[in-house]
Structures are given as structure tokens and as C-alpha cells.
């Protein structure tokens, strides 16, 4: 629950957002821009050119030391010990029952001195929970075990992070970094120098990752240079069609891309298999919390599964709307919006497996009135395969 938090965090871009007409909202304890102009305009600009979004609220947890690889392998659902430098993996943190505590990206990098470290990117809403979970599994005697030391640092407030997403992002960012972005593969990243005086000779981490279904990058830079680097990117990007995009567009973009969001499609009562995230669970390697439970869960087909819905009419089914087949309650909407790309309402939902066939028509209770909807395969939107 975010309500416990008394101070609202500001990212290093807070003043910039305020000066550029952003409508600010409290999101997971952070004051964040939901939109600058219009969600639809920001969304479509990201699909056709570039959107830049401040995602400095995302939690960044850094792990290093000789024991870091094994520690993370025993914390995350997916193997990390075999990751190569520059590789990034989508993974989960599960509880002992196999319920999802968070979905994360884990990246493996070497710093300028050649020393390896991992960065685990967690949801802002789960940061404290995961930090506590790490501490619970990393008591001093474990963290200081000779030869297997693990140094854990929450670097969230030290590093800003920008999502620069859209088909023209390589063109925009290539002149600014000393790594070849054209050949950087999806789910890969690198420690990079930033080739601009605004960076004051500081580097950053750039990765070909995102939450939009578009080609694009995420760039982490130190908080002290963040505003200057952001300004440079925005100015260079304007002639290419770049617009700043708020969390509103980020949500519609990820929904079209069929990507789950914690608190909507994912929570502690949902297991990875019903969420369609079985690929992120490696059950034969290291023992992590929830592994044994997941081995059992994997044996039986899930009762409910995650599906896509397209509304037949114009009314939007939103989180919490019940789904019916005849008079049977068969599921619930977890996210819904109006799709700016498809120009119709779309939603993600959990639905009883026997109804989860694409093409099935169901009824959704939208504020007391039943609306027809059709099950469709996820994602709703898939970009042309340009770039990596």
C-alpha cells in the first residue's frame, strides 16, 4: 500500500515536467507526469517517431561481489548464473506459494574497470517489498561469507532512467553514446560513455529494452546530470518527431503490446503459469523461494489464464469489470483502455481456461450494463520487425 508513505519522491526531472505543462499524479509514492498534452498524441508519436518518458521511479537494485550471481539465482525464478556480459532477462520474484511478488529485469554488466555487477529493475510499487525480501534472504552472515560476498545497494535515487522508445530512437541516440546501437540486440545493454558535455564525462547504462512494444532504449544516468542529458536528448529529438510522453501513454502502449503490469495482471495470488509467464521460470536449477510450489503448479493446467479482449462497442471495460458467459461469472478484467492505434477499446483479463479460445464472444459488465467483447490473441499490437 502506497498510503503509508508520507513523503512523495520527486525524480531529477520534476522541475522539467512542471515547466512543460505536465499533469502530475502520485504514482507508487512518486510525483510523476501522467501526460503533457494528450495521451493519444504522446502514444501515437511513440509509435511513429519517438517518445521519451521519465521512468526514474522504477526501482534499481544493484548486486555485486563474488556471491552475487548465486544469490540472485536463489532469489529470482530465472537462471542468472549463465548470463553473458550485456545480457538482460525478464524474471520474476515469487513467494513460497509461487505467487508473483514482482516482475523484474535483471541485467549483467561490467563497469569501466571490468568489474561485473547486476542491476535488477523492479516496479516502483514493489521496491520496498523487494528490498525487504532481499534483506530477509541476505543476512550479514550470508552477505559476508568469505569468498562469496554480496554487496547490495538500492541505487534508485542515485540514478535517473529514461525510456526512449520508437522507430527513430537509434537515429537519435547513436551520436550520443560510444556503443554501436544498431547492432545492440533486444534485451541487451552496455555501460556507455555519453558523448556530450552535458554528461560531464559521466557514463550511463543503455539497453535495448522497453515497455511499449516499440523498438527503443532505456538509459540510466546519474541523478546530478539527468536534467541536462534529458534536455540534450529532447532538443536533438525534436526534429525527428520526439515528444515527451507521460505514464498515461506508457500504460496504453504496454497494454497494446500485451505486457502485464503489476497490480493489474500480476499480484501475489497469481502464479506465473496463469499469467503466461512460464518462460520466465527455470525450475530445474537453483532453489529459489516458490520453486517447489511452482513445480506442482506446473503439473496441472491453470484454472484461469490471461487473455486479450476487444470490445464490440465503444464503452471501455476497466479493471474489476466482471466477465460472463450466459449467467456464469467466468473472469475479470485487469486492465482496459481505448487503444489509440486500433481505435477501439481493448482489455486484458483473467478468464476460465475453458472459455479462453480466441474468437469466443463474452459479456463484460461495464458499470452495470453488459457489453459484448471478443477474445483475441495477445499482443494487440506488434510492430514491423525493423531494428533488432
Amino acid at each position: 500500500m502506497d498510503g503509508q508513505q508520507s513523503t512523495i519522491f520527486r525524480t531529477p526531472l520534476f522541475e522539467w515536467h512542471a515547466a512543460h505543462g505536465a499533469r502530475m499524479v502520485d504514482f507508487a509514492g512518486w510525483s510523476m507526469p501522467v501526460q503533457y498534452t494528450s495521451i493519444v498524441d504522446e502514444h501515437l508519436a511513440t509509435r511513429s517517431a519517438i517518445g521519451i518518458t521519465d521512468v526514474s521511479h522504477m526501482g534499481r537494485l544493484r548486486f555485486e561481489g563474488p556471491g552475487a550471481a548465486v544469490f540472485l539465482a536463489e532469489l529470482l525464478t530465472r537462471r542468472v548464473s549463465d548470463m553473458r556480459e550485456g545480457q538482460i532477462r525478464y524474471s520474476l520474484v515469487t513467494n513460497e506459494q509461487g505467487g508473483i511478488q514482482d516482475d523484474v529485469l535483471v541485467g549483467y554488466y561490467h563497469n569501466a574497470n571490468g568489474q561485473p555487477f547486476y542491476v535488477v529493475v523492479v516496479n516502483a510499487s514493489n521496491r520496498q517489498k523487494i528490498v525487504d525480501w532481499v534483506h530477509a534472504h541476505l543476512p550479514p552472515e550470508r552477505a559476508e561469507r568469505p569468498g562469496q560476498e554480496v554487496i547490495f545497494t538500492d541505487v534508485t535515487r542515485l540514478w535517473a532512467m529514461f525510456a526512449i522508445q520508437g522507430p527513430r530512437s537509434v537515429e537519435l541516440l547513436q551520436p550520443l553514446v560510444d556503443v554501436d546501437l544498431r547492432w545492440m540486440r533486444y534485451y541487451h545493454g552496455a555501460q556507455a560513455s555519453i558523448l556530450h558535455p552535458a554528461a560531464h564525462r559521466q557514463g550511463g547504462i543503455i539497453s535495448r529494452t522497453g515497455y511499449t512494444g516499440e523498438d527503443g532504449f532505456e538509459l540510466s544516468v546519474g541523478a546530478s546530470i539527468a536534467a541536462d542529458v534529458w534536455d540534450v536528448i529532447v532538443e536533438l529529438g525534436k526534429p525527428l518527431g520526439l515528444v515527451p510522453a507521460g505514464l498515461g501513454a506508457r500504460d496504453t502502449l504496454r497494454l497494446e503490446a500485451g505486457m502485464p503490469l503489476y497490480g493489474h495482471e500480476l499480484d501475489e495470488h497469481i502464479d506465473p503459469f496463469q499469467a503466461g509467464l512460464g518462460f520466465a521460470c527455470h525450475l530445474t536449477g537453483y532453489d529459489f523461494p516458490g520453486r517447489d510450489a511452482l513445480r506442482e503448479i506446473e503439473q496441472r493446467p491453470p484454472r484461469r489464464v490471461r487473455v486479450g479482449l476487444e470490445m464490440v462497442g465503444r464503452r471501455v471495460a476497466r479493471q474489476g469489470s466482471r466477465i460472463l458467459a450466459g449467467t456464469d461469472d467466468i473472469g475479470e478484467v485487469t486492465s482496459g483502455t481505448f487503444s489509440p492505434t486500433l481505435k477501439k477499446p481493448i482489455a486484458m483479463a483473467y478468464i476460465r481456461r475453458e472459455y479462453a479460445e480466441p474468437g469466443t464472444v463474452v459479456s463484460v459488465d461495464v458499470r452495470g450494463r453488459m457489453e459484448p467483447a471478443r477474445l483475441v490473441p495477445l499482443p494487440f499490437y506488434r510492430r514491423n520487425n525493423k531494428g533488432a
Binding site: 501526460q35 498534452t37 494528450s38 493519444v40 465503444r314 476497466r318 481505448f338 489509440p340 477499446p345 458499470r367
Partner: protein
């Protein structure tokens, strides 16, 4: 249309009350401030002619990308005309919320409720507080 001549509800509807041979009729819409707050309008649901409406109660809904909001009637009465043309032309509502973007006309049944509505100055003050 002069916003000074309108009456306003707390939930951002406006009403223009006119005498007609059939009694008092309120033309009802939502304010420019509301349209600005909603920004990305995607859908509007309006009632049928003949629907009875009550002051402070929903008579329809307006949906943006981010959320859905009730349209609340500022007056008691019966819907006698509906601006069906805007359902497929939401830009009319965005561009001219106090004119071509009107939503319904209501034959007023009970004038007592009118006194509850704000004048322009009071409504402006409420909007400033919101910001």
C-alpha cells in the same frame, strides 16, 4: 454563447435556462474546464428523448482514454432533445463545449433545484481551487 450567462454544477456541467411556450427548458453541456481535464475523449453515452432526469443524478457518461465520468443533470425534468450528432463527432465537444457541443435539452419540472447551481464567478473559483 457567453459563459457568464450560464449556471454551473460542482461536477462541471453547465445549464442555460430559457423560457419557452412549454415552460422552462435547460440546455445542458459540460464545461471547457471539464473537457480540458478529460483531454482524450473517446466516447459519450447520452439518454433517449423522454428520459426523466434528476438534479445531481447521472444522465449519461463521458469516457476518455484514462477514465470514465458520469454526466450529472443540473436540473430535474425530462429530456426533450438530444445532440446525437456529437456522438460520432466528439471534436465538436472539445472545440465548442458551450455551443455546438451541448448534450441535452431538459424540460424543467422543478425550478427549486436551480438555486443550487453556481454562477460563473463561483464556478471559476471552484476550478482555480482544483488546480
Amino acid at each position: 454563447m457567453n459563459p457568464n450567462d450560464l449556471r454551473y454544477s460542482e461536477t462541471h456541467e453547465w445549464a442555460r435556462v430559457e423560457e419557452t411556450p412549454n415552460g422552462k427548458v435547460a440546455t445542458v453541456g459540460i464545461t471547457a474546464f471539464a473537457v480540458e481535464l478529460l483531454t482524450d475523449l473517446v466516447h459519450i453515452e447520452l439518454p433517449n428523448v423522454g428520459t426523466a432526469v434528476q438534479a445531481g443524478q447521472p444522465f449519461g457518461e463521458v469516457e476518455s482514454v484514462k477514465s470514465v465520468s458520469d454526466l450529472n443533470s443540473p436540473v430535474d425534468g425530462e429530456v426533450i432533445e438530444v445532440n446525437d450528432a456529437i456522438v460520432d463527432h466528439l471534436e465538436t465537444l472539445s472545440n465548442d463545449p458551450f455551443g455546438e457541443g451541448w448534450l441535452v435539452k431538459v424540460k424543467i419540472a422543478d425550478e427549486a433545484g436551480l438555486a443550487q447551481l453556481m454562477d460563473h464567478a463561483a464556478y471559476e473559483a471552484q476550478c482555480r481551487e482544483h488546480e
